[in-house]
Point group: C2
Chain length 731, copies 2
């Protein structure tokens, strides 16, 4: 099949405004008569609130309204409180909020809030959290044996003990990953105003998920959905960090009480410490293997730091921990563990990068011990169609082996058995890793209208994080055979667009893209039917292609046809709505080539070869961008990013200077291979691509470091200090 | 049929924010990094532009861009130029525009534009315009015999000469109406910004017709529709004055050239003189009548001042001039006539108030001459179903007589033959007048979504001028049997809503309301089908009423049903689109009771009885508000509003102090009778109601003045000066 619009490289339509600083983000917005909100945050990691008085603050100059946790109907135990009640469970937890005429007056009023705390012993990490006698953060634990368990997820298949019994060798390793920030550059920002006629609130916010925000705000404020309008703003980075409520219910409630529009911007420091960073993990893996490298049993016990309130990180971890490999006997237990940290949020691919760092590092440990080539052990065990892989799912196709092989081929992989031990001040090494991610549909809807000049408008409520609007334009253009420039795809808000779930899980192009395709086809069908009626012919006699409509020997431009059809029976508006497309499994594999400075321990990633089954690349430029971006994030995860705390649980590196993310100067040479299996039900076979490429990166780099200098690090990030310490141990 | 939501009195949802000053109008909006535009306007009514140099202005401090007429591809003869080229044709015509960092810098730069004019003789009014030897405003005239004719519209039926031959009496009268401002309080305001990626422009503007603005802006700037996004702002009054382009293409082009958001607000004075006021008219009527009052022939020759550029006022005038009466022989010629005034725009009901002031005044002249009761002559001639009335249209029902009779009955009308001649300082009088208006559909579309909590969202692209969103909510609520508070109706912009023609012609509730009804029914059908599939039953077995869904003995809330259906096959989104609903004829009749001060000539309207065939009042509170508002406007038109010019063609009363509109203190006692024929194809039989009630008011007041003091004024407004002069002539 030959395509005219999809499968082509199209620059992101929102790109130029973004790179030239023209895009208006939330912080740029000013509403008339706007007041400012500020939030009083806990200085303690764990404390009882003994007294909280806001009377003085309420009388401070310019103060319009003051809120505390009592002002929100949400009860303890129902997820993350909007503001703390009775107890604070992490440093930076919101205790009270103020709206005032100016930012300065709002800050001054915070100082006038009287709050007395009784500090409690606090839990700094997951190991401490599950140790006997640990301070209890919540009254109940999900596991009667262990304190501070927020949730448990288990995956079992086969008989893992029998599997270990069959194994020639059993490997046990523990891996650790740190707390990290998602790395979005734009801090959280929200504005709200109230409609006096309806009592409804309008909230402008930097979010990945405006409809989910609508539900959550409505619930927090006790309003119906119809009374909450969420206008998703251009997002200056999110990566999972802008899904949950943050400022939204606070500015909305302050707007209701003050009768004024209210704005709040989270400071960089608060954004680091008090929003939803990605939690740490401790992962104990026990893997049984035959001499030839065949995996026969896999057991994992994993602790995922969920911070002070429940999260779902452990579910994904349990589901994906076995990687894209065939392992007959499985016993995985993943815990969500409370600590006195900010509630953990998702980050790109959730906990899949965590578990693949563990698994893919261990595969290389196994390969080295058995004298096998790391590529060979992966190909031997790669899951094939029908193999059970993720939780209750089976692999729907054979792509795993071909993706892994493609990465290796592109990298010029040659078999390696055990680490190379060169000399000289710098050592080069090559490492490979695979990984997978499961893509689901969720609520997905789109409208497609044919305008009277033949241009086409696409409307969805999906937040355009990654250039999906550009791909939507391609999909609609393909339906009508018009140039992409003839289509405009727009993000509506929760009132002016049909319902869509959030921009997460790499679902947008897969699911909303399919809704756009269906809406385009629906619009085309309406156009054809209207013309058939007008021209008194059968719809089958009418052909739409190349931007023209041919019927009864006539050839009309799309503009002429749309105008005639619209005059005949109203505007041509196609609809696409779905909630289920089955699932797509996206396998990624990467080869990293690193150079390790033996003296300083500094690791430089020289090349990163990324192969991925993308289903079908609607916009290869965009897909490559996603892959390079995610893999860059993986480099930061591998080498430099981590939250560093002092003994009192205080975050020490709460800014972009000290929390070290890679910049464009740190980018390696990328080599991206797109594998197009076209087996999924996304538009033209496309599936999600944004998250999988972060999954294997850290492991590939860890394996490359081992290949270069023989140092196996089981803890991220692989800082120069840890590398040097590792080399000293090894020598 | 019993209704639960339509036909009920529901306060406007946007009311409280408007009356408490909370609504944000265009002037309130500030975009980051925004520049300001200012427009250089012609000080001459008619002049050749001899020289126009902008180089100095372009170098003034803060100046970002300068435009002249050459910067717009539009050619002479294609409607109103964005900025004048070669010639200016009215005082206040735009000659150049500047964008600068501040309003002050923009104004200062205007002074630095070098422009030399060669003044030309100018045309002050329509009589002068068509006189032999008049200065020519455009090279060509539509009528070879007459100069300065912009357009001609003729309606002929029967044989008017034969009609006059049959008549017992023939009456010839000439009536005049002045230039007036539409009376909107919010001056024109627009903002624009450019998307660098797409090259598209976004324009925020106070408009009645965002989709038509989109087309016009696209044409002015040479862009496709997909490159122009128009966001219709809350409108602080429009009444026909905010349909045509005003600032929009200027700020859009300045934004494109400066790369900055650009804002412009028209000053009150410029809004009076240089936007699109409603033009003057001179109407010569010749009517043949039998002794018993039967109308047998009607001839009209009317001149409508279209200002310096073409307009379509004369078309409506010719079509509606015979009123809602049966007249077998008709010969109407209406001219659009150029003068050196601002291009005329429509005002509520276009020129129907003009022609009905003439016709309905003449009917009373005839009645008085024949010794007939004014009510009697109207009832005798009232058009019945099948009678030809407006242009090529026939009256689709018999409402005319019943509307007229209802007004008279409500007023306590008693037969009156000739004017009462009382004594005392104040005289009371009663006058009656009828009138009609034709309502058309045009492009009308809506989406209706059922949210997961059972609330319902309605989206249209119709500008919510008159509270139509509240009525849309009622219509959707009626479909699902839920309370109106469970529905939110929203105005999207041209990108996020389906296409709709402008809010004009009283078409919104009639046509877009019907689209909303269809979309609601479509959503209901989808809900039922999805549930039927899921529950394995027939759609016929499922009932939606009272906000509940009943199937197979189960009763689900709308929320439960919507969520189940959505999970099963995606969000429930109904669609309604139409372009044609035939037409509705809206007949209005009013009786005015006035008190005339014999000494000062001041007329006070004491009571105004308004009867109107509204088809069906979806929201009677809103319909009554429309009728009272329109009739109040009619009081201003009758008694005080007019543009006063000096001999040089300069407008003397260009502000709200000197252009005297009635305020709420001038409101009479209203008595509104809604007649519900329910014969039209609007939702539940509703038709447009906003314009008809302005149609008879001026004539009813003129007839009441005659009834009170025996003074027949053939010219509006009936100022105290004219009344006193009339009384002096009569005494």
């Amino acid at each position: 099949m030959r395509f005219t619009a999809v499968g082509k490289r199209v620059p992101r339509l929102d790109g130029p405004d973004k790179v030239t600083g023209r895009t208006q983000y939330g912080a740029d917005i000013t509403l008339p008569d706007m007041a400012w909100a500020a939030i009083l945050r806990s200085p303690h990691a764990h404390a009882r609130i003994v007294r909280l008085r806001t009377e003085k603050a309420a009388k401070m100059p310019g103060v319009l309204a003051v809120l505390t946790g009592k002002d929100f109907p949400r009860k303890d135990g129902e997820g993350v409180p909007i503001l703390a009640r009775d107890k604070v469970r992490y440093r930076g937890e919101g205790v009270a909020a103020v709206a005032a005429e100016t930012q300065e007056e709002a800050s001054a009023a915070l100082a006038a809030i009287e709050v007395a705390y009784k500090p409690l012993p606090f839990v700094a990490d997951v190991r401490q959290a599950v140790a006997p006698g640990a301070p209890k953060i919540h009254a109940e634990s999900e596991d009667p044996e262990l304190p501070n368990i927020a949730g448990v997820s288990k995956v079992k298949r086969g008989d893992v003990e029998a599997g270990f019994a069959q194994a020639d060798r059993v490997f046990e390793d523990t891996f650790e990953t740190p707390w990290v920030h998602q790395g979005f550059l734009e801090p959280h920002v929200s504005l709200a105003e109230v409609n006096r006629g309806t009592g409804g609130v309008t909230v402008w916010t930097s979010t990945q998920a405006q409809f989910n925000q609508r539900s959550d705000i409505a619930q927090a404020l006790g309003l119906s959905l119809g009374k909450v309008r969420v206008i998703g703003l251009p997002v200056g980075g999110a990566f999972g960090g802008k899904i949950a409520l943050c400022l939204e219910p606070i500015v909305a409630e302050l707007a209701r009480r003050s009768g004024r529009p209210v704005k709040a911007v989270v400071s960089r420091k608060d954004d680091f410490v008090a929003t939803r960073p990605c939690g740490a993990a401790v992962m104990e893996l026990k893997t049984g293997v035959k001499k030839d490298g065949t995996l026969v049993a896999f057991q994992a016990r994993m602790l995922f730091d969920t911070g002070a309130y429940p999260g779902a990180q452990h579910d994904t971890a349990a589901s994906l921990a076995q990687g894209p490999y065939r392992i007959p006997n499985i016993d995985i237990t993943a815990y969500g563990v409370y600590t006195n940290k900010a509630p953990a949020g998702p980050r790109r691919a959730l906990t899949s990068p965590h578990v693949h760092f563990a698994l893919e590092s261990q595969l290389d440990i196994i390969a080295a011990a058995l004298g096998l080539d790391p590529l060979e052990i992966r190909l031997k065990n790669a899951a094939r169609k029908g193999d059970a892989v993720a939780g209750g799912l089976t692999m729907p196709y054979n792509s795993a082996a071909s993706v892994i092989r493609t990465a290796a081929d592109r990298a010029g992989w040659s078999p390696r058995r055990g680490a190379a031990r060169g000399s000289g001040s710098k050592a080069r090494g090559l490492g490979i890793a695979g990984g997978h991610w499961t893509v689901w549909a969720g609520a997905s809807s789109a409208w497609v209208e044919v305008n009277e000049d033949g241009t086409i408008s696409v409307v969805t409520g999906a937040i355009n994080l990654t250039g999906t609007n550009t791909s939507f334009a391609q999909i609609a253009a393909e339906s009508f055979g018009v140039p992409v420039s003839q289509v405009n795809a727009h993000q509506g808000d929760t009132e002016t667009s049909p319902r869509n779930d959030g921009s997460w899980g790499s679902r947008i192009l897969f699911a909303v893209g399919e809704a756009v395709r269906r809406a385009s086809e629906d619009a085309k069908r309406q156009l054809v039917e209207a013309l058939a009626e007008e021209l008194e012919t059968s719809p089958d006699e009418i052909e739409v292609s190349g931007g023209r409509v041919r019927a009864k020997g006539k050839s009309l431009s799309l503009a002429e046809a749309a105008e005639r059809a619209a005059e005949y029976r109203g505007a041509i508006i196609g609809r696409g709505a779905l909630s289920d497309l089955d699932y797509g499994v996206a396998v990624a594999a990467q080869v990293a080539e690193v150079e390790v400075d033996r003296e300083t321990g500094r690791v430089e990633v020289k090349r990163l070869i990324c192969a991925q089954d993308v289903g079908f690349a609607i916009n290869p430029m965009s897909v490559e961008g996603q892959i390079e971006g995610a893999a860059s994030q993986g480099i930061g995860y591998a080498l430099s990013e981590e939250y560093v705390y002092d003994g009192a649980g205080q975050l020490l590196n709460d800014d972009l200077m000290d929390f070290r993310m890679p910049t464009s100067l740190d980018h390696p040479e990328f080599n991206v291979a797109l594998i197009e299996e076209r087996k999924d039900k996304g538009p033209y076979g496309a599936k999600g691509v944004g998250e999988p490429p972060l999954v294997p990166t850290a492991a590939a780099i860890a394996n490359a470091v081992y290949d270069a200098v023989g140092v196996r690090l089981r803890e991220l990030p692989m800082t120069p200090e840890r590398i040097v310490r590792g080399m000293r141990r090894a020598s």
